[in-house]
């Protein structure tokens, strides 16, 4: 299926951009008119992925985070990428409550939140190269039946 719209952006790995990124994603997705709850799911998942890139990928140092979205008639695909230090063990990182930074009061729930608010979450990471999170969500509130 071809996307009906696409966007790409790149921003500095600053924590103030966590809000910026999730608001952009929600604004882009709102074109297809999902429910407020579905928009909140998108905002939360994007916030988690971008926060991971900033505090784990770049460990709060300067870097660049890329976000791109493919919008479909009834869903969205979102990619969050960094060129940070990468995740040595992705399966371990995805475990609920696992965090490499307990001293920072991180709950270790980032990936769990992404997985439960989105329909599909894929993580590809290479140590020293970076991490790419791909997420997909279908909006059940949007019905295409009558449009074909």
């Amino acid at each position: 299926m071809q996307p009906i719209n696409q966007m790409k952006m790149e921003f500095s790995s600053k924590s103030s951009n966590e809000a910026f990124a999730r608001v952009v994603a929600a604004a882009f997705v709102s074109q297809i008119d999902p429910t407020l709850e579905e928009l909140a799911d998108i905002k939360t998942a994007v916030s988690e992925a971008v926060t991971n890139a900033i505090i784990h990928g770049y460990e709060n140092s300067n870097g660049s985070v890329r976000m791109s979205c493919n919008l479909y008639r009834d869903g969205v695909e979102i990619f969050i990428e960094d060129e940070g230090q990468g995740i040595p063990d992705v399966n371990q990182a995805r475990q609920p409550m696992y965090t490499s930074k307990p001293e920072m009061e991180r709950s270790g729930m980032g990936f769990t939140v992404m997985e439960s608010f989105m329909d599909k979450v894929e993580v590809v990471s290479e140590v020293g190269k970076g991490t790419r999170v791909s997420m997909y969500k279908r909006f059940n509130s949007i019905h295409l039946d009558n449009e074909n």
């Binding site: 103030s16 966590e18 939360t44 988690e48 926060t51 009061e105 709950s107 769990t112 939140v113």
Partner: protein, 111 residues
């Protein structure tokens, strides 16, 4: 992001206003911990009625303050939690150790 601090006896009521994410977490943490140093503070109630967004950073903030309150032999509870926030609370297991009440009055009565 703002935190409104008020007191009912030895119970600190922290009303969080705005968005609770990793960016704002540090400010909230410092604001509440600086109150917990005061000898008169024992319990904490988080009021989330004015929170428009929260991600898993909120869990870390609450758990961190819970540990600090425990050291004072105090109690901690949360109130006015939205459905979206409740989902994150539930998946983190937070509600197994921290009670959530409908409003501040109920939370105060349970202290």
């Amino acid at each position: 992001m703002k935190v409104k601090i008020s007191y009912k006896g030895s119970t600190l009521i922290a009303s969080i206003m705005g968005e609770l994410d990793h960016h704002s977490a540090e400010y909230i943490r410092e604001k509440i911990d600086s109150e917990l140093i005061k000898a008169t503070t024992k319990n904490v109630i988080f009021d989330f009625s004015k929170v428009s967004f929260m991600d898993s950073s909120g869990i870390g903030v609450i758990m961190g303050r819970f540990k600090n309150v425990q050291k004072l032999n105090g109690k901690l509870s949360v109130t006015n939690v939205s459905d979206q926030m409740m989902r994150i609370f539930e998946m983190s297991g937070l509600l197994k150790i921290i009670p959530a009440y409908d409003n501040i009055d109920v939370a105060i009565n349970k202290m």
